[in-house]
Amino acid sequence: MANVATLPTARAPDARSPAPEPLRIESLADRQRRRRRLVLALRLAVLVFLVGGWELGVRAGAIDPFFFGQPSAIADKLVDWSVNGTSIGPLWWQVGVTIYEAGAGFLIGAVLGVLCGIALGRNALLADVFSIYIKVANSIPRVVLGSIFIVALGLGSPSKIALAVVMVFFVVFANAFQGVREADKNLIANARILGATRWQITQAVVIPSALSWILASLHVSFGFALVGAIVGEFLGAREGMGLLIATAQGAFDANGVFAAMIVIAVVALLAEGLLTLLENRLLSWRPEKSAGE
């Protein structure tokens, strides 16, 4: 106890070297904590440097704010949007619409992708028949389908959801399929010997082993769902962040484009955090995770 209590004064390297065992352990944890703080401080410094440089560059006349915006003006824009609303309606409504479209597309695409990936991964004939079509579909730039969906489904949410579904489906599908294919043959043989039916093997062995592949794909694909929803709105919509960007672009308002980008980035980061929580919960059996705790 006494050692721990004297620790803050014992920080200097020369004072620490003759310290007894418990103190050395304590100082190792302490060093890690200090390193983390250092990294955080450096990160902040980089941010301040970039944003500050940008702002100063504009003020000094080196950067043209008409094309490249200005941090303080972007901040003003964000405040203005949240207080007074945007030109197309309240900000929270636009964010909500885009989250709804991306979220619905993400859920539908992920569920379809997982189901199809597992079904094809477990059935060699289905896999042989459909794999060629999936390869073809995967190689077309799918964003272009957005135009078709808007013509077919109109300016409302369904066309954006459809585009997000298409963007998400193939990524999740490819990963689920691969994950099923990579399932350990020994574990499958063991389950068979222990008495598992085909369906029980799928449940007890194939899905758990494919899960880390599937979850990895979900991380990437929420970003794709956002891209799908926003591009869809960009191509033609009555509301949403994509329309907000298109409107700002039409008004030559670079700050508006950047402000919308920041809002979207926050949404993406929050979703990423939620997915990481989900992943840690579902994959808690993995050795790396518990070792890191």
């Binding site: 574990l187 068979r192 008495g195 059996w285």
Partner: protein, 273 residues
């Protein structure tokens, strides 16, 4: 046992019978690789048979055929007189590699067999606890495989297999990854479990001492394509003292005999490579 008697007059004779079995693979280069050719072996109910042979000769392949995980290209594989046409409920298999489910804790791993076979959760877990006790893993019910040592994982695999009360037990080098002390403990535990259950055991090993310590008969396989070169009856009395039996003169005599038999094959296998 009753199953063995029920399946026909001839069937009672042997738990496992391989007759003129051939198993061939097509290599990536397109050649045919013969793992087993003209392979004959039979094991009586309750018999402990060890299989030794040069590496890569076809021992795991043989066990896979008996387990119904693969089909032979020629010959017949019978279990209690009936041709093998898939995985049989009466067969248990302890694999060469780790095959416990990494995402299930010990209790869920051990109760997997009964659960797959339709036993209710509470009864399956009750049985599983009993087996976890018998392999000395009490207190580790909630541990995940990666939190256990290699020897403990092997014991989970044993409990997982034994809980299904197999009448035929296939074991593929189950203890080869363990240190000497743990291996001796596991061998003793295996003999105890076996003497209580009296399954027919096929035990593949590279360790000749282990084969002689455990088995009633030791079959020596030829280099690939594998056939049974010779079968040695081990007339050492049971119960056997694992720790001291290897210094017994009779043990040493048997070991020398089999070792000479095996060395010829290992040299042949090496010359072929």
């Amino acid at each position: 046992m009753s199953a063995a008697l029920a399946s026909g007059p001839m069937a009672g004779d042997s738990a496992v019978a391989l007759d003129g079995v051939a198993r061939r693979f097509v290599t990536p280069a397109g050649d045919v690789l013969s793992a087993l050719e003209d392979f004959d072996l039979s094991i009586a109910p309750g018999e402990f048979c060890a299989i030794v042979g040069p590496t890569g000769c076809g021992k795991s392949t043989t066990l896979g055929l008996i387990a119904g995980l693969a089909r032979p290209q020629a010959g017949s594989v019978r279990v209690f007189g009936a041709p093998v046409s898939g995985v049989d409920r009466r067969v248990g298999f302890v694999f060469q590699q780790d095959a416990v489910f990494p995402w299930r804790d010990v209790l869920a791993n051990v109760s997997a067999g009964p659960r797959f076979r339709g036993v209710g959760r509470s009864r399956a877990e009750e049985e599983a606890r009993d087996w976890i006790d018998r392999v000395h893993l009490r207190g580790f019910e909630k541990s995940l495989p990666h939190q256990l040592s290699g020897g403990m994982r092997k014991r989970v695999a044993l409990a997982q297999t034994f809980i299904n009360k197999p009448e035929i037990l296939l074991m593929d080098e189950p203890f080869s990854a363990l240190d000497v002390q743990t291996r001796e403990l596991m061998q003793e535990e295996l003999l105890q479990l076996w003497s209580a259950n009296r399954a027919a055991v096929l035990f593949v090993t590279h360790d000749l001492d282990e084969a002689i310590l455990l088995a009633d008969r030791v079959a020596v396989l030829t280099s690939r394509p594998a056939r049974v070169k010779s079968v040695h009856a081990i007339d050492l009395p049971r119960p056997r003292a694992i720790a001291t039996l290897r210094y017994d003169p009779r043990f040493i005599e048997i070991a020398r005999l089999i070792a000479e038999d095996l060395r010829a094959e290992v040299l042949k296998a090496r010359a072929a490579h």
